[in-house]
């Protein structure tokens, strides 16, 4: 059992008091900034980077990693309580999480999310320890055609989430796809819909769209509601999920862990896709899919488990290939370089203490996060007891501040206000912002991947089908599309018999 030695040594590294302390600091900071909409882990790590120069490499990376996965825990809280998804990967949580909060079950939603996050994170760490090198090699087989197929699948799934009618979802998704085209064309450098504004050259940022459509739109809508009926603060009961609710979420958490681990390895959009796919799978498996969007507990458990599992597995490309999968990983890459430990294929063999120390610290970090979540859920839920007249302006202020901190641009504040009005109108006319936001995120992935694929195939479209992975995904897609039609036909025939 020689191969186990470095793993066990890794635990030795983690349990050094200093490292434990850095782990705790990391997850606490992570959870706090996760609660704040806008200020994400990437910006926080950038601010803290200089502090880590004087710290031992292992301790520094343990802390920075803690900030990253800790933020995933915190992000749920605003999605559920205030309908403010701070990151693309928690957009899906809003559907049922916020619905549960309106029913006075915010505690249940947050509790299940914390448990799911813990289990998803832990399963993903085990996967990371055992399978990292293999998974990394498989991930390399995912080229542009595979991304194109996955993103297309994602866009189609978008239409099935949310509570609005299918047609309205499709319209919203279409608008999302159109918004994704704004900005400088990645292939030709041409400006699209930028009106010669440099602020739009990189396209619209995800944060102002999501904050505006969800958070601000909801607040504006509630303002109008207040004129027609007296508003009372939401009920707050059931601070912890019941046994039957836990049983109900069990399957969703298990499947969400696997989906999150697998899709999280893929750089760019992996976490978002995983939360969406996990949600769609649960909705499809459910006996009463109509519950989804109205406070289904699985609708919170699945995406929250998946996005935490994905956050953990997104370390795999960095630690085994030296490729940063997202903005936060890019900072980790920089932090490691500065520490004199260049991330690459030889990291595991040359710096086993760092590799295993960081991975094993995640077990500890996840336990700490779960322990912290339990009392904090009770505290955060009380936010809902605040009268809307007080809570709403504070939320607006934090939203505007948060949006500003992403790019330090006043322009983004105007964007969030514009999208807030759009979000209000959408809600008024029965459109869900979810499909729009998700299609927006997946749209740019889809466009870039399709165009790259066509360049690689030299214009031969059949390439998408002949490659094993993209072919399989596309096959799956056809099944997903055709199966309901077949069912309808069968039902009609049976009726006519």
């Amino acid at each position: 059992m020689d191969f186990l030695n470095p793993v066990l040594d890794g635990f030795g590294v983690v349990l050094e008091p200093a490292n434990l302390l850095y782990c705790l600091a990391g997850v606490v900071i992570g959870m706090l900034i996760g609660v704040l909409p806008g200020l994400g882990p990437a910006a926080t790590i950038a601010i803290l980077l200089p502090i880590t120069y004087g710290v031992e490499p292992v301790a520094a990376i343990i802390m920075l990693a803690g900030i990253f996965y800790g933020a995933q825990y915190g992000g749920t809280i605003t999605s559920v309580l205030l309908r403010l998804p701070g990151e693309a990967s928690s957009v899906v949580t809003v559907f049922d999480g916020y619905a549960l909060a309106r029913q006075g079950k915010a505690g249940t939603a947050l509790g299940i999310a914390a448990i799911g996050s813990f289990i998803g994170g832990t399963i993903s760490i085990i996967g990371l320890s055992l399978l990292a090198p293999i998974v990394a090699e498989v991930a390399l087989d995912f080229g542009p055609p595979e991304y194109a197929a996955l993103a297309l699948l994602g866009v189609l799934l978008v239409a099935t989430v949310g509570r609005g009618g299918k047609l309205k979802s499709v319209i919203a998704a279409g608008i999302g796809l159109l918004l994704a085209t704004v900005g400088r064309d990645t292939f030709t450098g041409a400006s699209r819909f930028t009106f010669d504004s440099l602020n739009l050259a990189d396209g619209i940022d995800f944060v102002p769209i999501a904050m505006g459509l969800f958070g601000l739109g909801e607040i504006l809508y509630n303002l109008e509601e207040r004129h027609t009926r007296v508003q009372v603060p939401a009920k707050v009961a059931n601070v912890w999920p019941s046994r039957s609710e836990l049983r109900q979420a069990r399957g969703a958490i298990g499947r969400g862990s696997v989906i999150g681990f697998v899709l999280g390895v893929l750089p760019g959009g992996g976490a978002t896709l995983s939360s969406l796919v996990a949600y769609a799978v649960e909705k499809r498996r459910a006996k009463q899919p109509e519950r989804f969007g109205h406070g289904a507990i699985e609708g919170v458990a699945a995406p929250e488990t998946a996005n935490n599992a994905a956050a953990t597995s997104s370390f795999i490309p960095l630690l085994t290939l030296g490729i940063p999968a997202n903005a936060t990983m890019a900072l980790m890459f920089g932090a490691l370089l500065i520490q004199g430990i260049p991330p690459g294929p030889q990291l595991v063999s040359e710096h086993p203490d760092l590799f295993w120390g960081v991975i094993n610290s995640m077990y500890v970090g996840n336990v700490l996060l779960l322990i912290m979540s339990i009392p904090l859920v009770g505290v955060f839920v009380k936010i809902l007891r605040i009268r809307p007249a007080i809570l709403a302006p504070i939320t607006v202020l934090i939203t505007l501040l948060g949006v500003y901190t992403v790019n330090n641009q006043v322009f983004d504040i105007f964007l969030v206000i514009v999208f807030g009005v759009v979000g209000y109108l959408m809600k008024k006319f029965g459109f869900e912002p979810g499909p729009l936001v998700l299609a927006f995120v997946l749209g740019s992935v889809l466009e870039i991947a399709v165009r790259q694929s066509l360049l690689i195939f030299e214009g031969d479209v059949t390439g998408f089908v002949t490659r094993p992975i993209s072919g399989t995904v596309l096959g799956l897609l056809v099944v997903v599309l055709v199966l309901p039609l077949v069912k309808i036909v069968l039902k009609r025939q049976r009726r006519s018999l």
Partner: protein
């Protein structure tokens, strides 16, 4: 009930304050007397997201400047349009030395060849403080491909698909020029930055790719990638065995270099004070170690030399692009 409300409000206030920390606001108390400079914080803005080379370099310099000048030097990220957004903001800031930035050469010498005139920025709109460092590009192939030199690509007798780190970057210009000069049929597959380009190369989705040294050097050391050429004028000390494109007979010299800039019209004393402090920072062991760790080559030269380098590369790239009929973008 009331205590709860207070506690939560307090929590939110702390939260809001924390959020504010993200975009540190400087109180640039400029004042007239340049002799006393600096009397307030000096803000360094970065035209890219946290984590990239420009960001890390800025942070390393900011730390040193803060120590040398005895003021706080906050770093603010203003990503957008490859750095053009930040450039335009800096351009219109007061020229008092309280807002400076490290900027990339490619933004002034290469990007204008790819984007519309409205989005292009000109170096004449800024004052130069001094040079910082050079970040070189390499062309690499997957180890299993068997390619070892640029000539091998020609011998392959097929259309070479090459990945680059995006439109209007040095990586795109260097590879496009190489394939044109060498007469190798090729297809440009742009990726959104170095990481996806590396992934595609390691997964053999593309035949070769060009990226910055730091992004690929570890995979070269691990034997997964084979460097075919570097695009510097002379060999690079971090990869001493890899010949330059020029050595292989192709006149392609492209590299990314960075320099400190200030708004146009910043007083001379202020600029020289800043450059002196920067030079002292460059001389510290910590900064030298930083350069080594990031595979950067110092070019800590006075502003006049930076000006000359920029002028030379602008006209050279423009000439070559026209000569070989290369279209980098829609410009």
């Amino acid at each position: 009930m009331k205590s709860v409300r207070v506690r939560v409000c307090l929590g939110l206030t702390v939260a809001a304050l924390l959020a504010g920390c993200g975009g540190v606001k400087t109180t640039s108390s400029g004042g007239g007397a340049e002799g006393n400079y600096p009397t307030g914080n000096i803000q360094m803005s970065v035209g890219a997201s946290p984590g990239g080379s420009t960001d890390l370099i800025t942070r390393a310099i900011a730390e040193g400047l803060g120590k040398e000048l005895g003021v706080s030097v906050p770093v603010v990220n203003k990503p957008g349009a490859n750095g053009a957004l930040n450039a335009k903001e800096l351009q219109s800031a007061p020229a008092d030395g309280y807002k400076i930035a490290v900027q990339n050469a490619s933004l002034f010498t290469i990007t204008p060849l790819a984007v519309s005139a409205a989005e292009a920025v000109k170096i004449d709109d800024f004052d130069l403080i001094g040079g910082v460092s050079q970040d070189d590009y390499m062309l690499a192939a997957h180890a299993d491909s068997g390619y070892k030199t640029i000539a091998d690509l020609k011998k392959a007798g097929k259309t070479i698909k090459y990945g680059t780190t995006g439109v209007g970057t040095g990586a795109q210009l260097a590879s496009a020029l190489t394939f044109k000069v060498a007469g190798i049929p090729s297809t440009d597959v742009p990726f959104d930055g170095g990481a996806p380009a590396m992934t595609a190369l390691l997964g053999r989705q593309v035949d070769v790719a060009t990226f910055q040294l730091g992004e690929g050097i570890e995979n070269v050391k691990a034997g997964k990638l084979v460097p075919l050429a570097v695009f510097s004028g002379e060999r690079i000390k971090y990869l001493p065995d890899v010949p330059t494109a020029k050595e292989q007979g192709f006149d392609v010299v492209v590299s990314q270099y960075r320099f400190l800039t200030a708004p146009k019209g910043t007083p001379e004393e202020v600029k020289s004070k800043l450059f002196d402090a920067a030079k002292k920072t460059f001389a510290t062991d910590a900064y030298k170690k930083f350069n080594e760790a990031n595979f950067l080559t110092p070019i800590e030269v006075p502003p006049s030399e930076v000006q000359k380098m920029l002028g030379d590369s602008t006209s050279k790239y423009k000439g070559q692009v026209e000569q070989y009929g290369i279209k980098l973008g829609s410009a």
